[in-house]
Symmetry: C2
Subunit: 135 residues, 2 copies
Amino acid sequence: MQTLSIGELAERSGVASQAIRYYEKEKLMPAPERTEANYRRYPLDAVARLQFIVHAKQWGFTLDEIRELLILQDANGDRAQAKRIAAEKLHKIREQIKHLSRIEAVLSKTLDECAGEGPMQEGCPIVEAIAEQGE
Amino acid sequence: MQTLSIGELAERSGVASQAIRYYEKEKLMPAPERTEANYRRYPLDAVARLQFIVHAKQWGFTLDEIRELLILQDANGDRAQAKRIAAEKLHKIREQIKHLSRIEAVLSKTLDECAGEGPMQEGCPIVEAIAEQGE
DNA sequence: CTTGACCTTAAAGTTGACTTGAAGGTTATC
DNA sequence: GATAACCTTCAAGTCAACTTTAAGGTCAAG
């Protein structure tokens, strides 16, 4: 069976060697076999596992959440739990979108109203909008 | 003229004393007068300045950006610069919304498709959706 | 047989926005 | 006049997710 050194795994997965060691310490990656000289040797499917981590991160999952999902996979866990984790994340994401959208609305309205000319003296609409409410 | 101790200011503004000292160190709050015993005494309008900071933070401005805005105010600076800072922030917020919306779309679709039953064995749609693309 | 590229560990540094702790001075109250 | 509730400074700790540094072992090439 072909195996990979940590450097080769890093290259194939796009994840730095040190980050891979960090994931091992954080129990996201299982501790791999070692050579006689104590070098890590990874099975080929380690690449897929790392890419799962990378993708989940891009989706906004934290390492803690990703660990939960990986444990479920490893343990052949309950699908309902995976659904719960994802549903919680979806809820958080929707909250974030709501929050940002409120800001976007006020900020873009404010920018439209502001000519962007003259000194700040009294009544720069941008500054006033922030000072007044801000949420 | 009435002045406030740092504790009174903290209470009125809802910002912890230590955070106020931190803002002073970071040049968001000006260094106030001191009593003979070296205690800080704040003018009443320090409350409004702190609330500006709090609101701007809620809007997602970083302390660096808030400092820029405050410097503009303090210097009676150019309104066009305030507009530029706000426009940059608006752009970043829109990017964040776009990013989150893409995630939201895929995640909610995935959750709809997943019955949330049975073991993870092969083909939990949530795990697969993350593994496959992730952006 | 030496140079350099790779590997090992453990510890410290990074970023942002603070919080917590240590060690001590001041002021208000009993 | 002592106790508690303030205030002072400076340093260190927190969180996440790493990166950087240090000090050293291993392996392939020439």
